[in-house]
Structure formats: structure tokens, C-alpha cells
């Protein structure tokens, strides 16, 4: 620039024409608000991962139950409490056995497909033995403090054994022989459906209520908010419990009960947003143009508050999942045999020592889903309002 000036170039003293000057410009890049938001969201690896996980969970819940080929309520008592991973022992003649920790013996195929139970022929309880016969051979099931072993007729352990996935029931079965996988996926459908519907209703009711309260101001606002605050004074779980005791169990009932209590916080949030925007000049300009109050709320106030509303809605999904799970867990939610993750947790508690997978699976499902939505909500919050970062 200046310091490079050494008079070595030719200076053209001709006056500049107006067109060459290009004085009136706008900023170059046209980036709309949402494009900017998406860009910031994409940078957040955790949020992107969460979107992926949520998509997987949604797909699995939506289509999974149809693909497993089993119904969530069919019971196969013989095959109850089957874990997802089983140890197959193969005898000399190629017969595969599966020894259940409950001291039952099953016939199986090598890949892990359990076919039927083998009933003992006789028992010698003093020696801690059960005796089985199959295909002309005798087998002894010996149980002791060290463990349960299946021995062949010579009282020797079977030659081969390996641990494979249960092919028949990929995630095992529960205490009355229902397929855990199908129940888990179907339960996901129920839990997620409840969570989404509750969130959408919360959105609609809360936004309308908060919007009207915030915009009206004065005594209307004071009255409407006092109602909200009084209702919020009692924890919502208590309301839900009372309502469910009155309504009885059922998906529809739990939906209603949760919707009745969950819109309160959203209404407060929306009211706050509307209050802060209400005196902005573009709202005044709309009033000067004669726009009616409802249109001002819908056309101007809400689109400009949508950031915090979306974040709040996203973060209330995991809360709804947890609430539904809790209610079903204590027996006041969805009615069995319809599964939900809470019901599965309830059923799995009893077998926590012997078949821990029965409680682990729904717990992991709940945790994973809640984590994913929480991370997504955090990511959305950062993306929608960069001022909150750092």
C-alpha cells in the first residue's frame, strides 16, 4: 500500500465515471437465518451424532416390530427367560444342548436356534443330578456350587462348547416367554409416540396461552400467569398420579394426563419471549399498519421467538419419556400386555439377579434416547442463539 509507493507506476488522472464507482452495495452473501442455523448445527459433532441415533431409533420403532416376525404378546412359556447369548454344548454325536441357568436343558441347533425343552427322565437330588435321555444316549445334569454342567454318559463334560447369540430370540425372552426384541421395539413405539404427542400438544397449548398472556399485558396477563403459577406449585407427577388413579391405565389416559400438566412451563417461556419482543419497533410498525393482535402474534412474535421454543420442545421430549416410563413402572401408565419401556423395566426388576438383561435392555433404550435428545437440544440452543455460547 502506502509504503510501496515509489512513483513507479503511471497515474491515470482521468475522472471516474459514476458507473465505475459502484457505491451502493449490499452485503455479498445471502444467508438466510435457517441456513446459518444449519451450518452451526452441522459443526456440532455431538448434535449430528444424536440426530443419527434418533433417526435409527425412530426407524427401528416404526418398522422393527413388523420385521421381527413375532408379536409382542405371544407367550411361549417353555422358552421363558432365555438370555440373548447362550452357551451351546455339542455332544459326540452332534447333538446340541443348551443348559439354562434355571436348570433346564434344551435342544438346539448349532447356530443358536433353540428348538425344544428336554424333560429329565429322573432325578437324583441327593447327588445333585438330573438324568436325561436323548437319541439313546444318557446325559447327566450336575449342579453344584461351582456351576451347572452337562455330562455325557461317561460322566465327562461334552467335547465342544461355544457361546453364540440366541438366533430365535435375538434379545432373549422375558419371564413368560415373550420376545424381548419385539417388546422393546414396540415399547419404543409407545414411549416415543406418547412423548411426541405430549410435546406437540404442549407446544400448541403453551404457545397460545403464553402468547395471549404476554401480548395482552396488564390484568389479563397477571391473571393468566397466576393461574399457571398456582398450578405449577404442585409437582406435576402428583397430578399425573392422581389423574391416572382416576382414569385408570391406558395409553390414551396417560396421554391426557401428561398433556394437562406439561404445558405450564412452555406457557411461561413463550410469555417471556413475547414480552421482550412486544415493544420492539417492528411490532409497533405492524400496529401502525393496522395488523390485528392475533396476526401480530402469529406473524411477527412467534416466528421471532421460535428459537427458544424449539429448544424447549426438544428438551421436553426426554422429560416426557422419563415421565411415561416412571408412570408405567409404578403401574399407573400404559396397560399391560402393551409394552412400553417403563413396563418392561417393571417386569425386569423381578429377574434382576438371574436375567439382568431384562432390565438392562429397556434402561439402555431409555438412556440412549434421552441422551440423544438432550444433546440435540443443546446443539440446537447453541445453533439458534450463538450469543449463548462461550
Amino acid at each position: 500500500m502506502n509504503e510501496n509507493y515509489d512513483g513507479q507506476f503511471i497515474k491515470d488522472w482521468a475522472p471516474l465515471q459514476k458507473e465505475e464507482k459502484n457505491a451502493e452495495t449490499t452485503s455479498g452473501v445471502t444467508v438466510s437465518y435457517w441456513q446459518d442455523v444449519l451450518r452451526r448445527l452441522r459443526q456440532n459433532k455431538l448434535a449430528v451424532g444424536s440426530i443419527f441415533v434418533i433417526a435409527m431409533i425412530l426407524l427401528a420403532s416404526a418398522f422393527g416390530p413388523m420385521l421381527t416376525g413375532k408379536a409382542y404378546e405371544t407367550q411361549q412359556l417353555a422358552l421363558r427367560n432365555m438370555p440373548p447369548r447362550i452357551e451351546i454344548q455339542t455332544a459326540k454325536d452332534g447333538t446340541n444342548f443348551f443348559v439354562h441357568p434355571d436348570l433346564r436343558v434344551f435342544l438346539a441347533e448349532e447356530n443358536g436356534y433353540v428348538t425344544e425343552e428336554l424333560k429329565p427322565v429322573s432325578a437324583k437330588l441327593a447327588d445333585k443330578q438330573f438324568i436325561y435321555e436323548y437319541n439313546g444316549k444318557t446325559y447327566y445334569l450336575v449342579f453344584s456350587a461351582e456351576g451347572t454342567r452337562l455330562l455325557d454318559e461317561n460322566q465327562e463334560p461334552l467335547p465342544e462348547s461355544k457361546t453364540v447369540w440366541n438366533k430365535n430370540y435375538l434379545l432373549g425372552t422375558d419371564s413368560i416367554g415373550r420376545d424381548m426384541l419385539t417388546r422393546l421395539l414396540y415399547g419404543g413405539r409407545i414411549s416415543l409416540m406418547v412423548a411426541f404427542i405430549v410435546t406437540i400438544c404442549t407446544l400448541v397449548i403453551g404457545v397460545l396461552y403464553g402468547g395471549i398472556a404476554g401480548y395482552s399485558g396488564n390484568n389479563t396477563d397477571i391473571f393468566m400467569m397466576r393461574v399457571v403459577e398456582i398450578l405449577m406449585a404442585i409437582p406435576s407427577v402428583i397430578y399425573i398420579i392422581l389423574l391416572m388413579v382416576y382414569f385408570g391405565q391406558g395409553v390414551f389416559n396417560i396421554l391426557i394426563a401428561m398433556v394437562i400438566t406439561s404445558w405450564l412451563a412452555m406457557a411461561q417461556l413463550v410469555r417471556g419471549q413475547v414480552l421482550s419482543l412486544k415493544e420492539q419497533e417492528f411490532i409497533l410498525a405492524a400496529k401502525c399498519a393496522g395488523v390485528s393482535p392475533i396476526k401480530i402474534i402469529l406473524r411477527h412474535l412467534l416466528p421471532n421467538s421460535i428459537g427458544p421454543i424449539i429448544v424447549f420442545a426438544t428438551l421436553s421430549i426426554p422429560a416426557a419419556i422419563a415421565t411415561e416410563a416412571f408412570m408405567s413402572f409404578i403401574g399407573l401408565g400404559v396397560r399391560p400386555p402393551m409394552p412400553s419401556w417403563g413396563i418392561l423395566s417393571n417386569e425386569g426388576i423381578g429377574a434382576i439377579r438371574s436375567s439382568p438383561y431384562q432390565i438392562l435392555l429397556p434402561s439402555i433404550a431409555i438412556s440412549l434416547t434421552m441422551f440423544a435428545f438432550n444433546f440435540l437440544g443443546d446443539g440446537l440452543r447453541d445453533a439458534l442463539d450463538p450469543r449463548l455460547r462461550k
Binding site: M1, N2, E3, Y5, F9, K11, D12, W13, A14, P15, L16, E20, K21, N22, A23, E24, T25, S27, G28, V29, R39
Partner: protein, 336 residues
Amino acid sequence: MSAEKLLEVNHLRTSFFTFTGEVQAVRNISFSLMHGEIVGIVGESGSGKSVACLSVIRLLQDPGKIVGGEILFNGEDVLGMSKVELRKLRNNQIGMVFQEPMTSLNPTIRVGTQIVERIQSFNKGISKKQAREKAEKLLEIVKIPEARRQLDAYPWEMSGGMRQRVMFAIAIACDPKLLIADEPTTALDVTIQNQILKLIRNLRHETNASIILITHDLGVVAETCERVIVMYGGMIMEEGLVDEIFYETAHPYTIGLKKSIPDINNFGGDRLFSIAGSPPSLLDPPKGCPFCARCDKAMQVCLEHCPPYFQLSETHRSMCWLLDPEMPEQLGKGGP
């Protein structure tokens, strides 16, 4: 030579690295400040005046970075200082006053406590009682009535003008060599602004600090400053004594600024003079003179090459091709 200069800035360049690209906020400015003088930096939004002063005391926030140049404060290299030395510099030798007094003061802490905090930051040994006495004296210097009682006031109990006086009190607490005031009166009413400008003039006599006054208002500059620097598009367009800038103006931008202000003495039925267009984009700065696109005397050379500084007197320089002695006579007098 350098011992007389309090501040020397050479070829300072500062940019903001955003996702859309590098915004060159300050593009190669050089100026110096002597002890005990008031210099005004005039410019509009986007001219780089605030960024320049923040760079000088290295208070830039991400994504801003000083990209090049040299800053000497009392002969010491500021850019090479460690964090500890910098803090010592800012604590003991420099005071800053910003535009919005409400956000500069902590609303939950009493005013007196905030001043005492400042005093204790550079004078570790002082007792609380002595610090409080000093705080009261400071409030008296800035002409706050009932100083002792106001020590216990909260910022929100005070008006905008009084808060700004408190900011000045905090700024001069350490008896700084340099006081930077970034648009201190822009948010204030005219009568209050008048009071604050009077305060600034008095402070100079009472404390012997050098003052940099950043503003967009030429009237403020005319009343308060001895020297003026005019910035535009990240560069210094013209620099000189206040009389030279106002009466021997040597740059089309400065002339345009002066003409844009309606003269309260005259009554025009005609249009106000206005400079067409808007400030240039600093993302993709023009390679020639930054003011070229809006200048009514622009020439081809202005578009292609950025002009050097032409010295009109020992204290007066301007960056404009119209001052080039090589310019042909028929284009008008050798000047804007």
C-alpha cells in the same frame, strides 16, 4: 524523540477472522501521541476507530487479531509484552471509558466499592479506608454532588450522565498516562454531553494525561480536541491540528463530513450536501483509495492505487491523489 512520544503506532493492521472471511477492520495505520495532548479520532461506523484503540491496548476479542505492525507505549513494545506485563500496563498506566455506562458498571455492586476495587488493583498496599477517601476525592474531581453519599449508591440509582462521570473517575483513579474515551457522550443528551466535554477538558489540566477521544461528531472534536485524526474504511484519511482540519481541510471525505452537518448559523432552503453511497466492505476492501466510490473528485488512479500521505505541513497530512504535485493543473487547484 521517542521519549517525548507517549504512544507510537506503526503500520498497525487488525482483522477479524469470521466464517465469511477476513474482515480487515484496520488496514495499516500509523500515528503517535505526545504527552498531555487531546487527540480526537473521527470516523463513522466501520471506519475502524474503536478497533484501532482496542488493538493498541490489546483488548481485542476473538475472532479479532492484530495481524501486523508495531505499538510502542513509552518506548516499550506492547505487542511483545507478556500477559502479566500487559495487565500491569492497563492497570497502572491506561484508563478507558466506553460508550454505554450502564453496561460498564456492575449493577449489583455499589459505586464506591467499584472505585475502591480499581484503586486496590494497582495499589496493593493501600488500606480500605485510604482507598475510600481517594474514591471520594475522585468523585469530587468529576464533579459529582454529595460525593460521600454517592459512594454508597448503586449504578441504577444514578442518571446516565452521572454514571459516565463515575466511569471517568474509575479511569483516572490510577493517574494514567493515557485515557481512551470511546464515544463517551454518544448515548447522552446534549446538555449532559456539554457537561461531560467540559469535564474532559478539565481533566486534561488536572491530571496531565493524554486523551484519545473517539467520536463521530465533528462538533465534539472542534470543542475538545487539539489534534484530529479522520478515519475511513480502516485507514487514516487525514491528520492534523484542529484548526488545520477545519479551516484547511485537505481530504474530500472530511469536506463531505463537514458539509453534511446543517449549519446552525445559516438557513438553507437548498438540500443538505450528502455523500452518496455507503462505507466499503471490509471483507473485500477496495485496492485503491477506500473513499474512491463515494468521492465526487475520484480519478482513475484513485481506483487502482491507494494514495500515499502527502504532508501539507509539519503537523498536517492527507491521503489523497489530489494533493500529488504531479497532478495536471487543469483538473483544478492542487487540492480537494
